[in-house]
């Protein structure tokens, strides 16, 4: 089965080989081996990019294959980040609090410890009580479960409501956008229980690994991200191939016709919507420890729209296209906005790319939509088909 699956999808094999080579090369050139050609911060950037590639693959499945233009998948990404961030922040604060309480004459009671942690974490929003949603924050296993369960449950409920009442097309897009906006606005409140617009911070410090250097941690997360991307890629490649893949693509092309053929369209859509949300959550849980901080601004509607932009530029309906789009646009974007691109003097006016990059991105996005609907991935088609 596995062999025939790979032979049917040669791109999966090529992708895995490419990803492995890339991971190896980055590891060899990183500070861990001593060559230090790639700085730790750039390893983190690459690791984060891999996470973005993973959510882009999920987005490609839900949009490129199933035809649901979700403008809310970054909400799931953020929820995953918050779920892991809660544990990271709790566990690290616990260590600090226990150290400071060790000096006191009586051994601390559990109540004293949890009060001190609460004051440390929520002092910034003028509170010291643990909200209900932090109930499992002391357990890594339960929080990891939340990374999967919360985005999955939210997507399941939202998707069930939306698909059941046959909300489709642009309506669905707007509705998913509203969902992200509602979540972001909710998290912006100080009494949301997640530190309002301060967000969760200090996530790059992994509890239990205080003695490990950031260079090593960054490489471990890089590997984890690469592994997650590889597994996610294979999983989604398997989902969209075979009979089920055909039904999903059928829904994209003509939903009514698939329904008349006797398929329960809503179940398929709900499955795809939920499973991609779960993968988005996992991607977020890997992304934010590398970013170090998460705040509600990360899940503003604009982020999810950018996700759609990456997938569209990379090429919808092909998983490697999503990976290329996410990697290409997000790296290019940080190059331009980070001041890496040289200014263009026009004599009467100097184009500063920090100011003009978004204009360029917006217009090139229009151009891609108009002239290259298949995106960058479409170029591969030409390469592959020419020899045959």
């Amino acid at each position: 089965m596995g062999k025939s699956f790979l032979s049917q999808n040669p791109s999966v094999l090529w992708f895995l080989i490419g990803l492995s080579v890339f991971t190896l090369v980055v590891t060899l050139l990183s500070e861990v081996t001593g060559i230090a050609f790639i700085s730790t911060s750039f390893v983190k950037t690459l690791g984060k990019t891999l996470c973005l590639c993973l959510i882009a693959v999920a987005m490609d499945v839900v949009w490129g294959y199933c035809g649901i233009l979700s403008l809310g998948h970054f909400a799931f990404f953020g929820i995953g980040g918050y779920a892991i961030g809660m544990w990271l922040m709790y566990a690290r604060t616990e260590i600090i609090v226990l150290e400071s309480l060790a000096g006191q004459v009586l051994p601390p009671t559990p109540q004293e410890v949890s009060d001190a942690i609460g004051t440390q974490i929520f002092g910034v929003v003028g509170s010291s009580e643990f909200p209900l949603i932090w109930a499992f924050a002391d357990s890594l296993a339960l929080q990891l479960l939340m990374v999967v369960l919360v985005p999955g449950a939210l997507a399941l409920v939202f998707g069930w409501l939306a698909f059941r009442s046959r909300v489709t097309g642009v309506y669905l897009s707007i509705l998913t956008q509203a969902m992200t906006l509602a979540l972001a606005l909710y998290l912006f409140q100080n009494d949301s229980g997640l530190r309002g617009n301060n967000g969760l911070s200090g996530l790059q410090n992994i509890p239990g690994f205080e003695d490990t250097s950031q260079a090593t941690i960054s490489i471990i997360f890089f590997w984890a991200s690469a592994l997650a991307l590889g597994l996610g890629y294979v999983f989604f490649a398997w989902v969209v191939s075979g009979k089920m893949g055909s039904v999903i693509k059928g829904i994209r092309d003509n939903e009514a016709r698939v329904r008349f053929l006797g398929y329960h369209v809503e179940s398929y859509k709900l499955f795809i919507f939920t499973i991609t949300a779960v993968v988005s959550g996992i991607a977020g849980a890997l992304y934010y420890p590398q970013a170090g901080i998460i705040n509600p601004g990360e899940i503003a509607p604009i982020a999810s729209i950018y996700l759609a932009v990456w997938v569209a530029i990379g090429g919808r309906g092909r998983l490697y296209g999503a990976v290329i789009g996410a990697a290409f646009v997000s790296l290019l974007s940080s190059w331009f906005t980070g001041g890496g691109a040289p200014d263009v003097p026009l004599g009467f006016y100097t184009i500063k790319w920090t100011d003009w990059w978004l204009v360029l991105l917006g217009l090139s996005f229009v151009a891609v939509t108009l002239f290259f609907p298949k995106g960058i991935g479409g170029l591969f088609d030409k390469l592959v088909r020419k020899p045959s």
Binding site: G169, A178, W356
Partner: protein, 643 residues
């Protein structure tokens, strides 16, 4: 003294001729002793004479005296004003010489005398010929109400020529009487008269009369004016009630967890506390047990158990008592305040309705353009918010060239329409036309245009907010009473929304263009075989929708800041309005705007401190609403709705 003052006033009204012959100095010389060494009791005669004299220079003299600037020249016993090393004549106000080298005695009034002077000054100011001074005196009284102001204020009402100020004075007398009238009956009468006044200061006066203090005792105290009896756990928290008991020294303080810890730390003997090893003290129960041992040994005060606390709470009665001892007065005040609060609640509801209406008209203006393009072409224009922004910036640029705000608004409205109409048509021709069969991609392409336009605006106008100033005749607000008020700008926007509603309904229902637009909306294929050019209709509709967005931008810019991100703030709300209202229907958009505007204001009213939560709940409501009416409030029927 006050009665004498009034009599003196009456006297001088009757015989003005008599008074004019005097000079200020002569009066002062008559009462030389009282001026030089004034006392609270003796000064009254002098003040009466000064009031009776009606001399204009009496007021500056009193002010100077109050400010301790009056001196006695010991050579001849005359009084002068001393300021900056010069002596001034009190009658003429001219400099009579330097103060250096002259033997002077200061006439220093004490606090009681200065208060008496202040009262007389208020009396003068209240009857001053200059209305601004009278107004200032009345304002000063309103700021700090005091029993002593009642009589002078009442005395000045009869002679008040200005009807508005007279009404203010009479109102202020009512307020003062409610608090300070000498008899209880007079106060009750005054309080009852306040029952129809909605203003904030009336409510403040009544609330002050009804001010309560918490109290606790074994039995209810006799003779106290009890406002309410509180049950711990129902009306007030048990912790709070117990704290009150502790404060009144009726119960021992609770030993907190921190107190227990400190007590244990202070009593460690050889690594044990109360006979238990310190290392086991890592639970609350172990600590309580150790503390119990210490308490039994008498080293620490006994632990107050929850049972003790409950018993203490049961043994006492908690109440609120009015500071005002008279029951009749507090009852009257309560009745008046209740009557006022009912009216205030009604007015607030009306005010909320007006607010909701004005918000709804803003949403309507912002969304109607979107509704038209979405309804006719099935195209979501993500750059709609940026068209709103373009309109607002057009208004700003016009104001740079045309300084007159009225003229600039009149120019800006059609110009904003023209600019965004052009932008809309250009966008339709260049981009959207090629994507008609791919609606999701239109969404993305227009989003690309949106981020490009936003950044472009940022590059041109900078990131700081630009003002769009409204003409001065739109400043201020239409005030119905102390609660209901609506600013003229909002009324203007409401009118603008009505005009556009009428205009769009007219265009769609009564013109050839409208007929063709409706035909294309219902069935583009059939419309085109009937000789309608759908291309032209699409272009015109898109231009029209964008043009209205530009006008909405000018309107929104008048009360909000013009920034490159202002479109973003309205785009999601506009989408919601269109989706809730129902696509392709003007009245649906109207209903959607009304629903969303009303809902948002309603939620904000329920939870005024948190507008973020209000938006969250509103979006959740909309998501649920879509479940029950997926096609919006006004759904198109027939084949056009099948898609």
């Amino acid at each position: 003294m006050l009665r004498k003052l009034l009599m003196a006033l009456a006297l001088c009204c009757a015989m003005p001729a008599l008074a004019t012959a005097q000079t200020l100095q002569s009066i002062l010389q008559t009462h030389s002793e009282e001026v030089a060494k004034p006392g609270r009791r003796t000064v009254g005669v002098l003040l009466d004479d000064l009031v009776a004299s009606e001399l204009p220079q009496a007021v500056p003299f009193l002010e100077a005296w109050r400010d301790r600037e009056i001196v006695l020249r010991e050579d001849d016993g005359l009084f002068f004003r001393q300021r900056d090393g010069d002596l001034f004549d009190l009658d003429t106000g001219e400099v009579v010489g330097a103060s250096d080298g002259v033997a002077l005695a200061e006439a220093r009034p004490n606090g009681g005398v200065r208060r008496a002077i202040g009262d007389v000054l208020v009396q003068f100011q209240l009857s001053d010929p200059d209305i601004t001074k009278r107004q200032a005196a009345v304002d000063a009284i309103a700021r700090s109400m005091d029993a002593s102001q009642l009589a002078p204020l009442a005395a000045s009402v009869a002679g008040e020529p200005d009807p508005t100020l007279r009404a203010t004075k009479e109102r202020l007398i009512g307020l003062l009487q409610a608090s300070f009238a000498p008899t209880a009956d007079a106060r009750i009468q005054a309080i009852a008269d306040l029952g129809s006044d909605l203003s904030v200061d009336t409510r403040a006066v009544l609330s002050k009369i009804l001010a309560t203090e918490p109290g606790v005792a074994v039995t209810l105290p006799e003779g106290a004016n009890i406002a309410a009896i509180l049950t711990p756990g129902v009306d007030l928290g048990t912790d709070e009630a117990y704290a009150q008991l502790v404060k009144a020294s009726l119960a021992p303080p609770v030993t907190s967890a921190a107190d227990v810890r400190r007590a244990l730390e202070a009593n460690i003997v050889d690594g044990t506390v109360g006979g238990l090893p310190v290392a086991t003290m890592d639970t609350q129960e172990a600590r309580a047990a150790a503390y119990q041992v210490l308490a039994e040994a008498g080293t620490v005060p006994p632990l107050v158990t929850p049972d003790d606390q409950a018993a203490a709470l049961n043994a006492h009665v908690f109440y609120l008592s009015y500071s005002e001892p008279d029951v009749a007065i507090t009852d009257a005040a309560r009745a008046s305040l209740d009557a006022i609060e009912t009216k205030v609640a009604l007015s607030q509801a009306a005010d909320l309705g007006l607010d909701a209406l004005s918000l709804a008209s803003i949403y309507f203006l912002a969304a109607i353009g979107l509704a038209i393009t979405f309804g006719v072409m099935g195209v979501i224009n993500m750059a709609h918010g940026e068209f709103i922004m373009m309109g607002a910036y057009t208004g700003y640029v016009v104001q740079l060239f045309v300084p007159d705000y009225t003229v600039s608004i009149i120019i800006a409205l059609p110009l904003a329409f023209a600019v965004t109409f052009g932008a809309g048509v250009a966008m339709e021709r260049l981009v959207i036309r090629h994507l008609y069969h791919r609606p999701l991609e239109t969404l993305l392409a227009t989003f690309g245009i949106s981020i490009a336009l936003q950044q472009l605006a940022k590059n041109i106008f900078g990131t700081q907010a630009r003002p769009l100033t409204s003409p001065s005749w739109l400043d201020g607000a239409l005030v119905f009473n102390d609660v209901i008020a609506i600013s003229y700008i909002r009324i203007a926007i409401f009118v603008l929304a009505l005009i556009f509603l009428a205009l769009i309904v007219y265009v769609l229902r009564r013109t050839r263009l409208g007929l063709e637009v409706r035909a294309v909306t219902q069935n583009p294929g059939m419309a085109s075989s009937m000789g309608i050019n759908p291309d032209r209709i699409n272009m015109m509709t898109f231009g029209l929708g964008s043009g209205i967005a530009g006008i909405a931008g000018v309107a929104i810019g008048l009360f909000a800041q013009v920034t490159s991100e202002m479109g973003q703030a309205y785009i999601v709300q506009s989408f919601m309005t269109v989706v809730v209202g129902g696509v392709g229907s003007v009245f649906g958009t109207l209903a959607g705007a009304g629903l969303i505007g009303g809902l948002q204001k309603g939620i904000e009213w329920l939870n005024p401190s948190n507008t973020l939560a209000a938006q969250t709940y509103m979006i959740l409501f909309i998501i649920l609403f879509i479940q029950f009416r997926p096609k919006g409030i006004v759904a198109l029927k027939g084949r056009s709705s099948a898609d």
